[in-house]
Structures are given as C-alpha cells and as structure tokens.
C-alpha cells in the first residue's frame, strides 16, 4: 500500500507579539514553534489516531494539512503530489474533508440542512443533477430521515448534528477525512453510533481517517495506528494495539494510565501524571517531558532525545525506551 498522505519534517511557527523594540529592530522578532519536525504518513484505508493533551498541537497539525495554517518548514505530500501553492491545497481539499470539533458551530445557523449538505458541491464547482435528491441521498447514507433536509442546525440534537457533519464531509467522495474530536459532548451510547457509522462508511467508501482526540478509550477501538504528541512533537507512533499493550514512552504510559476505569474495583491509589503541559513559549530544556516524568535522569534534563525506531513499525522519543 502506498501512502495517501505523507508529512515530512513539518514545522509551524507563529510570531510572538513582542514589545516596541521587537517591532522596530529587524531580526528581533521571536517565533514560537507550535509544531516541530513532524513526520507521519497515512496509508490509504488506514485510520490514524492523533492523541495528546490540549496544547500539544493536534489541531494545528490538522489545519496545516488542509492548508489552513501556513507551514514554516517541511513538506506535505497528498496522493503523490506535493502541496505547496494555494491551488494545490484547494485541489487537496476537494478530495479531503474535515469534521469539526463542535458540530453545531460548524454548521451555518441560517442554512437548512439540505442547503448545508449541497454547499460543498457549489464551493468546488461540482455539477449535481438535483440538489434536493443529492441532499436526501447523503442524509440516508448517514441514517437520517429525508425530512431532516428542511431543518435548521438549532433544531438538531448533538448526535444528529454530528451525523450531518459526517454527511457533509462525505459529500464530495473524499479520500481522507480529518475528524477533530468527533465524539466530544456526546453520550456514550450516541458516541458508539457515530463511531460505528464512521467505521461502516470507511469500508463502504474506501476512506482514510485521521482522528484527533484526547479520548483514549474511543481511539483504541477505531484506529489502526496511533501517534502521541507532546508540545508540538511526536513522542511515540505505533500500531494501536501494541501501544496500548506496552507503551514505550513514559508520557504515553501515564496518558493511558490516567483514563478513568469504569470499574470501582480497579481504583487507582496514586496519580500517574502530575502537573500540566508546559507552555510552548517556555519549553523545558533537554527532554521536554522531564518536568513530569517519573523516570527522568540528569541526562534527560540536558540532552534532548531523538526519535528512534523500535522494531519495524514503532518510533519513540525517549532515552530509556
């Protein structure tokens, strides 16, 4: 299988708003690295889970893949073509789609569901026979009734709005769907319905997914591979089953251990991880995780670990993995 999406050494940085001196003196302008040297590939038909705490750069990565955030360094190759120009990103967006975090906010409150579903065709200048028929077809594909087409977003429940989000993402038969927290705010039973729908459509339409989430219990069941991010860097990538069975990076380990277990007999006495994710403005020296790591040594405080390959399909950024 060839890679559908290939990201190599991707970095994104934003200028920091500084004081008067910083603006007047050229070269004084400071930048913060939101993403640093991300290399990741997604095979056709694969589901990749991207996990990490808030502020780890997951959403920025998704935005830069779609050309919504300017890239500072590195390359993104989609379907064999490198993405550079605005036009190449526009073409790329024609065959990929994003499911946004807040489904109600991502739908225009002034448009009916039917109009929202056929809007992608108009944006990309794709001819459709009959707008109404097309909308109904998309609705039935995601398990909603035809009369939903006349409703407005505020009349939908959380689960229905998610389904509309899925239908809209599917409209142009994309190859890749990037789903940003596809199930936050949903009840567990509805969450299962949406994930089952996504899995079903994946086999039916030959989709690839990149699922961005901090819900580990969910990503464990839907993704084939998992990439863990910390402060804008990848710290572990590997097949989901293996990462959950034996996480190599201490951060991945404590992230998995932090997930509350739905069993009162398995209550944990102590905390797997303390403190908060540091600010990207003030990155720790050496290994960036050493401030919260339980096995940190002197070496971790001075020397930054590099990504290393372990076995054939796992990589990890830790001195002691």
């Amino acid at each position: 299988m060839t890679a559908l999406l290939d990201i190599a050494g991707l970095s994104v940085n934003f200028p920091v708003a500084g004081g008067l001196f910083d603006t007047l003196i050229p070269g004084r302008k400071r930048y913060i690295d939101i993403l640093d040297g991300i290399s990741l590939s997604l095979k056709s038909g694969e589901t990749l889970g991207l996990v990490g705490e808030s502020g780890s750069g997951k959403t920025t990565l998704a935005r830069s893949i779609l050309g919504l955030s300017p890239i500072s360094a590195g390359t993104i190759t989609f379907n064999g073509a490198e993405l550079r120009s605005r036009q190449s990103f526009t073409n790329m967006r024609r065959s990929s789609a994003m499911m946004f975090q807040d489904p109600v906010a991502s739908l225009s409150p002034r448009m009916s569901v039917g109009a929202l579903l056929t809007e992608p065709f108009i944006i990309h200048g794709v001819v459709m026979q009959n707008r109404k028929v097309k909308a109904e077809e998309l609705l039935s594909r995601v398990g909603l009734s035809k009369d939903m087409a006349n409703r407005y977003p505020h009349e939908l429940s959380g689960g229905q709005a998610r389904r509309v989000g899925v239908a809209r993402a599917l409209a142009l038969h994309p190859k890749l769907i990037i789903a940003d927290e596809p199930t936050t705010g949903l009840d567990v039973s509805v969450q299962g319905e949406i994930l089952n729908l996504m899995t079903e459509l994946k086999t039916l339409m030959g989709l690839s997914y990149m699922i961005i989430t901090h819900n580990l219990a969910m990503v464990r069941h839907v993704s084939d591979r998992i990439a863990v991010m910390y402060l804008g860097r990848l710290i572990e990538v590997g097949p989901t089953r293996e990462v959950f069975k034996k996480p190599l990076h201490p951060y991945a380990k404590s992230l998995i251990a932090s997930e509350p277990q739905p069993d009162p007999r398995k209550r944990r006495a102590d905390l797997a991880i303390k403190g908060e994710i540091p600010s990207v403005l003030n990155r720790p020296r050496g290994c960036e995780f050493h401030t919260r790591c339980s096995i940190a040594q002197d070496r971790c405080r001075s020397e930054a670990p590099q990504l290393r390959a372990i076995g054939i399909d796992r990589i990890v950024r830790c001195h002691f993995a």
């Binding site: 808030s54 567990v188 039973s189 509805v190 992230l255 739905p262």
Partner: protein, 323 residues
C-alpha cells in the same frame, strides 16, 4: 446510618413549553449523608441538571415543582422564601459548575473575587480573608497560590481554573458540595488530578459531595453510592460496586456495556442502545425504557414499574428486577 443531610422526596419538576409541560423530573428520590460521595449518572436529557438546579434553588423561571420536597437538615428548602434560599447557597449548599471559565468574573482578579465570596463572614479583615483564600487554593493543589490570587481567570489553564472553582466552593465550608460535570471540559491527565483532589477532600471534609456526570469512569473512581437516571426518573440506586458489578436495571446494564473504556481488546463495532429517549412532553404510561429494552413485555408498556428493593442499599425501577 445517621439521618440524611439532604433528602429529595418524590420530586417532580416540569417546564412550561407552550404546548404543554415537559416532565423533566418525575418522582425522584435521593439521599445524601455527611462524608459520602454520591454520583448521579445519566445521558443528556435524563433530568440530572434539573435535579441539581433544584438542589441549589436555581431553577429556570419556567420550571414548576409539581410535587415533592427537598429536605435539608429536616427543612423543606423548596417552601422557603427567596431570601432564605439565597442564604443557603454557599455556606450550606455550594456548587462547582461544568465550565470553569464562566464561574469567575473575567475582569476581576481571582484574589479579589475569593475575598468577595466571603462577604457574609463578619469580624474578619480582608487581609485574613485573602490569606484563607490562598490556603484553600494551596489545598486545591495550586502550586503558587499567592501568584494565582493576583491573576485574572483567563491567565489560568482549564485545570487550574477548575481547581480554583473547587477552592471557591470550599471557601464557604458547605455541608453539601454539588459538582456538575466537574471534569468534562478537561484533559484526561487533568481529569485524573481533579478526581484525586475530590477524593482527598472527602477525608478531611465532613459534608456530602454530589457529583453529576455522564462519565461512568469518573463515578467508578470517585463515588460511594450511585443514582442512575433515565428520562427524568431515578431508575436504579446502589453502592458503586453493586451498580458496576451487579446492575439490576436493563438501562444501567446497557449504559455500562456501551462504555468503550470497558473493552481491553480492539472492538471495531461498539455496542449502542437502539432507539431514542422518549419525548417527555408525553411520558410513556409504563416503563420509560420499555421501547429500548430487550426484556420488555406488554406489562412493561402498560404498567408503571415498581421500585424493587434488591438489598438494603440497592433498588431498581423495573418489573423484571429480582433480588
């Protein structure tokens, strides 16, 4: 067991909706004792928020108490006048809200707000009040409380804000602490820390803690007793271990089965609960869960299920439940 600190009896609340009344809460019963952590679980629309709003007397203007009472230390708080109700909030019943950003005023520093919260305490100087606020922030696990007191809410991360709002609630030394989805807006790592904090607090805190959530993992980690709600009713109550290991109501069983955290192995098709929550404008005549239940018989659709006693601590609202 000692007399309950808080007792909700047969409480029914409806919302006027023009075309009728939405029966958001139907004959709910609940008891909370000092030193206990109670969990209320259920999905959206099950009435948990209405119950909580009633507990702290913050019901919406279109809400109607159709029947029932909430006894706090033996007095029905629903029949009190507004002024006495207001005096209860804070020193007696305090609340931690879901969204820590909207808990605080964005244009006043945390220190000034935490001092203001103590306005009802007489004969204590502002400096002492500030010192006490600092102590509680430290108790809630904020590393540099002095610095935190000088900060504005937007300068803190979500986890820190939630810690600060727990500290603000504890400032009143309430007898009942109600936490509505206290970890929903947070990352897993922060969630684990807030659970840890709440668990630590119960050891040196004499009051009752009521945690409302849809996250079964949070309840399992934190609570002593659980109330499971569905379509405005409490459908099962019991000790946390019984609820998770010997659930008697089909809804409790289905809800637990749905949680993806339950499966260690890769499960591509996750279990769901087929069907929808009934429309509470016209609540069903029989059992509200009958339409989605695989054990349902014609009796379930016609006759209101009884509140079956399973053991001294466990009860279920189901025709089929047996001890």
């Amino acid at each position: 067991m000692s007399a309950a600190l808080l007792r909700v009896e047969n409480l029914s609340i409806g919302y006027d909706a023009g075309i009728g009344q939405i029966q958001a809460l139907r004959a709910a019963n609940l008891e909370a004792h000092g030193g206990e952590v109670i969990g209320i679980v259920g999905e959206s629309g099950c009435g948990k928020s209405t119950l909580v709003a009633a507990l702290i007397n913050l019901l919406a203007p279109n809400a109607h108490v159709n029947s029932g009472a909430i006894y706090y230390k033996g007095t029905d708080i629903l029949t009190m006048d507004r002024e006495s109700q207001r005096h209860l909030r804070g020193p007696d019943i305090a609340m931690v809200f879901q969204d820590p950003m909207t808990t605080f005023n964005p244009v006043i520093t945390l220190g000034d707000q935490l001092v203001d919260f103590q306005h009802h305490i007489d004969g204590v100087s502002n400096a002492e009040k500030r010192k006490r606020a600092g102590e509680l922030l430290a108790r809630a696990g904020i590393p540099d409380p002095e610095l935190c007191l000088r900060r504005y809410p937007h300068e803190l991360s979500g986890g820190m804000r939630q810690r600060a709002s727990i500290a603000a609630a504890l400032l009143m030394t309430p007898n009942v602490l109600v936490a509505d989805e206290p970890t929903t807006a947070l990352d897993v790592t922060m969630e684990a820390q807030i659970i840890h904090l709440l668990r630590e607090l119960r050891t040196d805190y004499q009051g009752a803690i009521i945690v409302v959530t849809h996250h079964l993992g949070v309840v399992a980690e934190l609570c002593d007793r659980v109330y499971v709600m569905y379509a405005g009713q409490v459908v099962e109550q019991g000790l946390v271990d019984d609820i998770y290991h010997a659930p008697k109501h089909p809804y409790t069983r289905a809800l637990i089965a749905c949680d993806p955290a339950h499966f260690e192995e890769h499960t591509p098709i996750l279990p769901t609960i087929a069907g929808r929550v009934p429309n509470l404008l016209y609540p069903p005549k029989g059992c509200s869960f009958a339409d989605r239940c695989d054990m349902a018989t014609s009796r379930c659709r016609e006759i209101t299920p009884p509140w079956v006693r399973i053991s001294e601590t466990q009860y279920a609202l189901c025709h089929e439940a047996r001890p």
